[in-house]
Symmetry: C2
Subunit: 314 residues, 2 copies
């Protein structure tokens, strides 16, 4: 049985893609089950509740050689701990190819689009399989989530076409309204501890010399209610300070993305990060907040610029 799962700190695409791909494989005669690598965020909880679906089970520790399919990620740092011991038979992803290797020829399907859901819709069409309403809503939700309803610069025409195709099947007449409800759910952060807020969508990136890299932890909170997040600024900065010390990092940032305005104001921990943001983006930091303007995609607008800044001179 193939274990299908997305990345740690799962977002809506990671969960949706695991569910949809496991179902697609099952329909094609490949025994498969969806799993998750962590707790669901509030947006994903909202989507599953809309559909009356249970969350997939937490992935158990798999024995060496177990057959797995990865969705929405491929790098070991974002996957289950013993990935190198597992038999990766399939990957569907829209990220750069990292350190993955396989023992035998795999099925790989990577495309540079905004969302794994967009690729999964193509897989249905290529297999001449109808898209069920449940799968349509899962894929549509993932596309709206990953592209911030087409606001993110990662959006491609294929993502827009996929969403337009899926909405009527999913029974969603007003996509704008549905996206707003998803984003509102995501933004209803309640009493979530500051450390959880920081780590909800958080990745550590090694920049520069691969042997002795600059390790930067970069979190993102996408919200329709940035006021709430900045109201907890002191707590969040304390959580960032703890993460920096515990994980021996060189820098920590937390980008607060205002979904509706498409802007990014980033919490800056210390003079180290302040200097780098000044030199990379030409922005000043005031009261530990740097205004990064319309740079709302970590993947396309933040990480590549830092990668270039720290790249060893050749």
């Amino acid at each position: 049985m193939l274990h299908v799962f997305g990345h740690t700190n799962p977002d809506t695409d990671a969960i949706s893609a695991a569910l949809v791909y496991a179902n697609l494989l099952s329909r094609q005669g490949v025994a498969a089950q969806a799993f998750r690598l962590g707790e669901l965020n509030f947006e994903t909880q909202f989507v599953l509740k809309e559909l009356g679906l249970e969350a997939p089970s937490l992935l158990p520790e798999l024995p060496a050689g177990a057959a797995v399919a990865l969705v929405d990620h491929n790098e070991s740092a974002q996957s289950t701990a013993n990935l190198a011991q597992l038999d990766v038979q399939r990957v569907v992803d829209h990220h750069k190819l990292g350190d993955l290797t396989t023992a035998a020829p795999p099925y790989l399907r990577f495309e540079p689009v905004g969302c794994t859901g967009t690729i999964l819709l193509k897989l249905h069409r290529e297999a001449n399989l109808s898209v069920e309403p449940r799968e349509a809503k899962l894929m549509l939700s993932a596309i709206l989530s990953d592209t911030l309803h087409f606001r993110s610069p990662t959006t491609t025409p294929e993502d827009r076409e996929a969403a337009a195709f899926l909405a009527p099947i999913a029974g969603i007449q007003n996509v704008e309204e549905y996206a707003l409800a998803m984003f509102a759910a995501k933004s209803d952060l309640g009493n979530t501890p500051a450390d959880t807020l920081l780590k909800m969508d958080y990745k550590v990136f090694p920049f520069g010399d691969p042997v002795k890299p600059h390790q930067w932890g970069i979190g993102v909170i996408e919200t329709t209610n940035p006021g709430y997040v900045f109201g907890r600024q002191a707590e969040l900065l304390a959580a960032m300070d703890t993460a920096k010390a515990n994980d021996d990092l060189n820098g920590v940032l937390l980008s607060v993305v205002d979904i509706l305005n498409g802007t990014n104001r980033t919490l800056v921990l210390s003079a180290t990060e302040e200097k780098v943001l000044q030199e990379v983006f030409g922005v000043s930091t005031h009261g530990q907040v740097a205004d990064l303007g319309q740079r709302i995609s970590r993947k396309k607008q933040i990480v590549p610029a830092l990668e270039k800044y720290f790249a060893p001179e050749s």
Copy 2:
């Protein structure tokens, strides 16, 4: 412009896939040109002559950052020397995933089928593009070559279906006859120097401990005329001895595959290789030849067994 190429020591699939994929991309509006990474073997020369086609140009040394598409391979050891400096935007392949990484999200299409041509036919169908007779004959030839006209255990039902679909478009009424003509061309080795014969379809495999691996060079000659090859046994063993010394290898084998009978008799250089073949396959060596029976696929039947034999105990 995207440079499209297959592996070094190109075979019919490596050349055919580069030509067909470059043409497919061009039809889809992506500027692309096919290249080769070495001299054509006699089978591939025959196929191109049948079609009145020139061989693709030898790949020039590309500047760092040049955009490339790999077909029928993905590992740096089988590719152009400075692959790590190039921008790999696309890969279509049917081998295990090796050491490839990319700087940005790529297009990857891997399937565990017998031939890259089988995947390329799917890409045409998925894009609703007709298959031109020239492309059909290139893909069909690659499938017949890689699967030894369905004799190899790497053959899948999809390869058979693809060939059955392509033959009428290619204008080939008798596939058996065409395959025999291809194999005869491949077997007409004439005055080819022994070192060239050894290296025509030759790969070096690192077995066991990745830090201090056992390096084995394994060549394959697929032929309808094994008598010719064994007539040159002394010369070939001398070429194997030279390769072992020059490349600091732990073992060298040359498998002579009788295409029509589906059998493999392998030239064995020394007592070292003899002992390993005895322990791995339980076969004895007589007069520096080991009868490996129906193990005609290096990829599926020889390399995995040696990999297992040399694997460090865990």
